[in-house]
């Protein structure tokens, strides 16, 4: 799959020496990472290794202690940057979905297009309905999030992030609440997105997913990048100790 | 202006059995002691220095005189401070009588007893020197003015009925606030009883700039049954002491004591009649 794409010139997103700590605990240490345009980079790692934190930092939801986050040529970690202009171009799906409970599914989705991007409501709703149809929830458009199952909420969160047509998507455990069939659907959705030119950073525990969609797989271990490689190389010929250990554990779990 | 009214007819209980009035030995609230109440703060010129027990001020002096008359010398008098609402409520009263410029009316006598009147005040308008009321000569000149008075007083009734202002009068909780409003230019004038008016203009309460505009003609103040504003001592409804207190007031009036005290403590003359 990667072979079909021409090698990208400048990465859309480049992390340089990123560091983030919570109180006394260092969560991310010296993260350096490139995500070329149109690429799909999958982050794997043990629970608590810092995947969600990394995605939050890229979306400027957490302030980093040190390092650069170069997005489309600009260092967005700089406090002089207006984060809103950046976030509008980056979509994020949260591990806990974070839907707005006081809005219906449709309102959740059209909020940003109408308020931030100034699209016509009718047009935004049409786009939202199309997104909902793609994730199989058109009939739930008028529901409140609390009236949806876990998987349904997750799909709404995906639709909400995608409807903004961001340049970079951050997915945090995007398929954790989905049944296998839906995983397939979301997977093909992501593939479509990639073909449409979307750049993606996906944190996941689904190794099958990593194998099938990733251009590169990066292993996060104790807050640092242990290894980054194309999926074949990562899964079949891991170089680092951490990756070998991780993959060994996965094989034991029968997950690859 | 009149001081002590001539007839004690305003108090219907006056004709009751007086044989129970044994001097110095009456069914008082605290046996052997006469408990007299007034509000806190107690205002000049009725009291002086917010201390009713010093015998100074008209009402303080009247209270001691009534007590003396009833056989309670000054050392057998105890003062308590009772706010207006408590004095008029149906709760058991913690005093034998209350002296605080209570105007006698039939309506009020449904819930409390009054002695015969110990003083009758006339109502006057007070303004500021150089203020909006400086050229007022007649009641008719006042109808367009912004006037105020204290709630629950005959002043307010006199203002309403005697002046018939074109805009509703300003109503204040206390005369202090009425004065503050006058000073701040929120009202053109306030209606108070004559002794209070003299006190206001005589003290520095109005910064020496007070002006007694004139009396509201008696009769113009008519509120139902009373022509002027007779003050009575207030007692618990059905109190056994009402006739005795009235008897004492009557005796003081007859002896000219009330007039003498009024002459000593209250300035009562000198306001033009409008």
């Amino acid at each position: 799959m990667t072979a079909l794409q021409p090698p990208p010139l400048a990465p859309l997103l480049a992390l340089r020496g990123l560091r983030k700590s919570h109180a006394s605990q260092v969560v991310l240490r010296d993260i350096t990472l490139d995500v070329p345009e149109h690429d799909c980079l999958v982050l794997v790692g043990a629970s608590g290794s810092g995947k969600s934190t990394l995605l939050r930092c890229i979306n400027l939801l957490d302030e980093v202690d040190d390092g650069e986050i170069v997005f489309a040529g600009r260092d967005i970690a700089d406090p002089r940057i207006n984060p809103d202009s950046v976030r509008g171009q980056i979509g994020m799906v949260f591990q806990a979905y974070n839907l707005f409970p006081h809005m219906t599914v449709l309102e959740n989705i059209v909020l940003a297009p109408v308020r931030v991007f100034g699209r016509e409501r009718a047009e935004a709703e049409a786009a939202a309905r199309q997104m909902l149809d793609r994730v199989g929830l058109l009939d739930k458009a008028g529901r409140k999030p609390d009236q949806l199952s876990g998987g349904q909420q997750q799909r709404v969160a995906i639709a909400r992030a995608l409807v903004n047509q961001p340049r970079l998507m951050l997915f945090d455990e995007v398929t954790s609440a989905l049944d296998p069939e839906l995983v397939l659907e979301v997977l093909s959705l992501l593939r479509d997105l990639k073909n449409d030119g979307m750049t993606m950073l996906v944190a996941t525990h689904e190794m099958g997913f990593a194998r099938r969609v990733a251009d590169r797989v990066c292993l996060l271990s104790r807050g640092a990048i242990a290894e980054c490689a194309p999926p074949e190389a990562f899964f079949d010929a891991p170089q680092s100790e951490a990756a070998k250990h991780f993959l060994g554990a996965i094989r034991g779990a029968g997950r690859v | 202006a009149s001081s002590a009214p001539a007839a004690p007819s305003a108090a219907p209980a006056a004709a009751a059995d007086l044989s129970a009035c044994k001097p110095g030995d009456m069914p008082t609230h605290t046996p052997g002691v006469l408990t007299i109440a007034t509000d806190d703060p107690a205002y000049a010129p009725w009291f002086v220095g917010n201390d009713p027990a010093n015998g100074q001020g008209f009402e303080s002096a009247v209270a001691y005189a009534v007590a003396q008359q009833m056989g309670y010398p000054a050392d057998k008098v105890k003062w308590v401070k009772v706010p207006f609402n408590a004095a008029v409520s149906p709760a058991p009263k913690a005093f034998d009588f209350d002296i605080n410029q209570f105007s006698i009316s039939a309506e009020r006598q449904k819930v409390v007893d009054f002695s015969t009147p110990y003083y009758a005040a006339t109502q006057v308008v007070v303004g500021l020197q150089g203020g909006a009321l400086k050229d007022v000569k007649a009641v008719a000149d006042l109808t367009g003015a912004k006037l105020g008075a204290q709630v629950g007083t005959t002043s307010l009734i006199a203002l309403r009925n005697g002046i018939k202002p074109s805009s509703p009068p300003a109503v204040f909780d206390t005369n202090d606030l009425a004065v503050a409003a006058l000073k701040a230019g929120q009202v053109d004038g306030i209606v108070v009883d004559l002794p209070t008016a003299f006190y206001m203009t005589g003290s520095d309460q109005l910064g020496g700039k007070g002006l007694i505009v004139g009396q509201i003609p008696s009769g113009a103040a008519a509120s139902g049954d009373s022509a002027d504003d007779p003050f009575g001592l207030l007692l618990e409804k059905g109190s056994a002491m009402t006739p005795c207190v009235s008897q004492a007031v009557d005796a003081l009036r007859a002896a000219g004591t009330l007039d003498k005290l009024a002459g000593r403590w209250l300035t009562q003359q000198g306001a033009p009649i409008l």
């Binding site: 979306n59 806990a96 | 609402n85 009020r108 009734i157 000073k183 929120q186």
Partner: protein
Amino acid sequence: MTSDAPQDSWQPSKRAQERTAWRRARARRSALVAGVSTLAVIAILVALVLATPGWPLVRDSFFDWRYGLQVLPDIARGLMVNVAIMLGCGAVIVVLGLLIAWCRTLPGAVFFPLRALAAAYTDLFRGLPLILLLLLLGFGVPGLRLAWLPSSGLFWGCVALVLTYSAYVAEVFRAGIESVHPSQRAAARSLGLSHSLTMRCVVVPQAARRVMPPLLNDLVSLQKDSGLISVLGVTYDAVLQARIASAESFNLTPYVVAGLLFVLLTIPMTRLTDWLARRQGWTAAGGAL
């Protein structure tokens, strides 16, 4: 991808019917028990009161319905004043309170001064007794005799109410805003919404519903306190009307009349806001758990 179970022609089984019947019966029984015991308590209290030696005097003082009816028109007119002030000031208060709460919840070190100012405002005006503000503004400001300042006592009275109550309402809104989980804010910001859009579209709507009852508290209490403007001698609110009437007659019935009118007025307000709050969002009272 998935779809829900189709509708069917389900008839409750006998067991389900029996359960429903049992639940209904239990609810009925509890309503009956509560109703009867409440009535009994009230009846006993009333009987006790009626039998007391002081009752006739208390009745004449507080429950003289003939007199009450007589003063009713005046007091009702006074109530209109309360309502008018409440509505006029209420709107300003809610907007101002929201603004202050907003300032207090601005993020970052840059906004520290604004937060501090908002906090100082709240501290000052919540702490000051309303009566002082009324006197200071109602008598003090016109006393300065500045021609270009409004000198209406009503105006300054309303300003005093607005200052005091906006401080209260700001605290209510702040509590509401802080009760919205930060992940909601993160989600909104991640969609590109600015801080103020996030507040307007995501945080405040969720907060607003949660703060309805305490907000209504403040409006109800504003409605009653609006009468305090009458210390300035500018309005005849319901309580002042009651005071005038009762001071004239030494009869406290007018207060009772005013009190009942206030209660009658607040009940529909309460039901309305409850309904508004419940229409959207989850609700707990009477829920399943």
